[in-house]
Symmetry: C2
């Protein structure tokens, strides 16, 4: 964010469930924030209207003392170049939706839009673990797997504005079919919270004779968090689920490192709460699959942004 | 290359077998060229000396009418940032060799060094199929698999100067062990000329009852070229080898496209002589593994540089 001490930026993070918005100052402090249920707005017009209704009083409150410099929006399948959300499988607005221009017109403010994972990487670059870095890759391990790639100090958008979809790269060819994209063996199918739950159910089914604390939970109530809790209690099967997940993540990270030679990999999102359960096997298998010149060069770090603030800060960093 | 019509650039391509060098003008014309046997020079000092002895008369010849602007060097495992060849498995000089500085001192000219595949991409950008593109990925399918990635008009070097080692990314986890890196299931193990020969031998051994023209060739004489010739003649097994190789290449290309969102993939090197035998399955499996937003967006093109000139032109493009 390049806002000065008399300027503020609006950050909006559009998610499948919630849309968070906030007003951010030059010190990355969120002065005001709020939330909308994304699914309650059948059209993007209704959604833009609701954003305006919610943000207008906030803008008015600060207008006397500050200039609102602009609006940054992070959204799934957001295209930086054309400002549209394109074919987002996790949103109910279908097709290509010109969100940036609609918001910009409604608020009469400049607006930038990007993929939510790119926005997260932008936040990390400006305020977090990647401060001062010129080349890094941020991987968000949440319900899905997102990624933001920074090359020479800039977020990588590529020719079409949609670079950095690392969650959808193949790491187990012919493997598990993704529940929404239909692609086989992609990183997201294994290393997202959703993927970990699928792995847990597979491991339980394939090992009917092995005891596990996971069997004390109704199968449809198993979450990634449940697997984490059981692993922490020493449950062997739950630990093996993290070994399995970490190996796949590590192999994918090796591929990413040999693509862009980053200074660090930064992991973000709920799945990283497992800590060393995931990081140790990930690091081991990343190193094992790197060419000599890349070995022991690229640390795997955790995000330094509070998860509650990261989405708004990341979006606001676009301003 | 940014040389003017009164300037010339020297391009040097260091290979495991041959080192090619040439003097290039502003129209990408190679005015003079020559070759050394890389393996005949036990030390990098002796090699630099030999380069100088060979190039000095050429430089003298043109010195009256032109300024020699500088020297560009493409070399396996070349690091753009420090100008060293680092741990090159295919060269006999071991460890980290400061080639750029030695050449620069010897010739008293500015010198840049990069990975040979990056140099090839540089040549393609300045003179070839990628002219005018800002984002593309060039894959060299030769004895090995090299790659040069261009992002926003610049070759991607990353934090350590060694980005773009896509030949060493995993595409068949736990698969074939690489003859030199020891890594498992990497792109180079399958899609290089060397990999195709290994696949041919595997297919022949696994299908002892299937007839194939490949069986008319002594096993240790089978080359990628042999497989190509048999496939062209309609040999079914040879065609399946290309299907298999093309599928693996296509899956890897899908991964690369979703990383950097290039305008095109450009293929270069001897293996591409197979044409559609390789390109068709590669395209099919690339498209099959792309997210919706990337589908039908990224053509797979062939290099437009003559193979004989490409190495010298690529290296000279660094000047």
């Amino acid at each position: 964010m390049t806002v000065t001490n008399t300027q503020l930026a609006i950050g909006i993070d559009i998610g499948g469930t919630n849309t968070k918005f906030g007003l951010v100052n030059h010190e990355a402090k969120i002065l005001e924030e709020g939330v909308l249920k994304t699914g309650e707005y059948p059209t993007i017009d209704a959604f833009t209207e609701a954003l305006y209704t919610n943000l207008k009083p906030i803008i008015d409150k600060y207008q006397a003392d500050y200039t609102i410099k602009g609006i940054g929006v992070g959204a799934p399948n957001g295209n930086f170049y054309n400002g549209c959300i394109e074919h987002a499988p996790n949103l109910h607005w279908k097709g290509v939706v010109p969100v940036r221009d609609m918001i910009s017109q409604k608020f009469n403010l400049p607006c930038s839009l990007t993929n939510d994972a790119n926005a997260a990487a932008g936040g990390e670059l400006k305020y977090g673990a990647a401060k001062g870095m010129k080349d890094f890759i941020q991987i968000t391990l949440g319900t899905g797997v997102g990624s933001g790639i920074v090359v020479d100090g800039e977020i990588l958008y590529g020719h079409n504005g949609i670079a950095g979809e690392l969650g959808h790269t193949i790491i187990r060819p012919g493997g598990r079919k993704h529940w929404s994209t239909g692609l086989h063996g992609t990183l997201e199918s294994y290393c997202s919270a959703t993927g970990i739950v699928i792995t847990a159910k597979e491991f339980l089914a394939q090992n009917p004779d092995r005891p596990s604390l996971l069997r004390d939970v109704a199968e449809d109530k198993i979450e990634a968090k449940t697997v984490n809790e059981c692993a922490v209690k020493g449950d062997e099967l739950a630990n093996e689920i993290y070994q399995y997940t970490g190996q796949i993540l590590g192999e994918a990270l090796a591929n990413f490192v040999m693509f862009s030679s980053p200074e660090a990999i930064i992991l973000f999102g709920g799945v990283t709460k497992a800590g060393d359960l995931l990081l140790k096997p990930a690091k081991e298998h990343m190193e094992k699959n790197l060419l000599q010149s890349f070995k022991d060069q690229v640390p795997i770090m955790l995000s330094q942004l509070k998860e509650a603030d990261a989405a708004i800060l990341g979006a606001s960093s676009l301003v």
